[in-house]
């Protein structure tokens, strides 16, 4: 069993962080979307900006849209993106 998660970024978030996907170790204590977002934001620079608290972002776990309180577990695919604008 792996302790890593896959994190994906889309649209303006992807452009700001300059990365569309990465594998990261899930740090101890990071068990929710909100905590993961804060953890990534703490990298500073573009991360602090792209995932800034004032930004209305959406998240998905294993390709299902979820609220910030949703659980994140090792092996999950997590995505951060702005509100959708298709159709």
């Amino acid at each position: 069993m792996t302790d890593t998660i896959r994190v994906l970024y889309f649209a303006s978030v992807r452009e700001k962080v300059g990365c569309d996907a990465e594998e990261i170790e899930l740090p101890a204590g990071v068990t929710t979307i909100a905590a993961l977002r804060a953890h990534l934001r703490a990298r500073g620079g573009p991360w602090a900006e792209a995932l800034g608290e004032s930004r209305a972002l959406r998240a998905a776990v294993n390709q299902e849209m979820v609220p910030p309180t949703a659980a994140v577990r090792p092996g999950d695919e997590v995505a951060f993106f702005p509100p959708v604008t298709g159709g």
């Binding site: 994906l8 390709q63 298709g86």
Partner: protein, 155 residues
């Protein structure tokens, strides 16, 4: 149920005809979304549609499944394009077949409203002032919220 995400254009007439083939179908309601040459006061020269492969199809399947739970639906086709598009290009088709028109209309509009707020697509516009990501509209959230069923009372 036919759900496709593709770069290529599609043929609304052929899709509607395919849904109408079953003779118990009395009604096909459909919607075609197109790239407009103007948005929020700026001329739009082109547009790029990004999506989240895998999740997109799943999200649309869930939306269509919810529509089939709520209304009598005999067939449904959703096609959404991604990639580079120009003004006048078709973006999306939603077509719903039913025995009666009320179900077809309601399911078609429901699917469009939910697709607008729940399917992971993002539009970037090329305008004379440069590129910009299209911002989500409050009116789309309001349109989707109309369909919310009354919450069940906790027991």
């Amino acid at each position: 149920m036919k759900i496709v995400v593709q770069r290529e254009d599609f043929d609304p007439g052929a899709e509607i005809a395919a849904l109408a083939r079953e003779t118990a179908v009395g009604a096909v309601a459909s919607f075609v979304g197109l790239v407009r040459d103007e948005n929020e006061g700026a001329r739009v020269g082109a547009m790029t549609l990004e999506h989240y492969p895998g999740m997109t199809e799943k999200a649309i399947r869930a939306i269509v499944g919810e529509a089939m739970r709520r209304w009598q639906v005999r067939g449904c086709t959703v096609i959404h394009r991604v990639g580079e598009l120009k003004p006048g290009d078709r973006i999306v088709l939603v077509a719903v077949a039913s025995a009666h028109r009320g179900d077809a209309f309601a399911a078609c509009e429901f699917i469009m409203d939910y697709l607008k707020t729940r399917a992971p697509f993002w539009k970037k516009e090329q305008t004379a002032q440069g590129e910009r990501w299209v911002e989500a509209r409050a009116s789309d959230d309001a349109a989707a919220a109309r369909w919310q069923e009354p919450a069940r009372k906790a027991v």
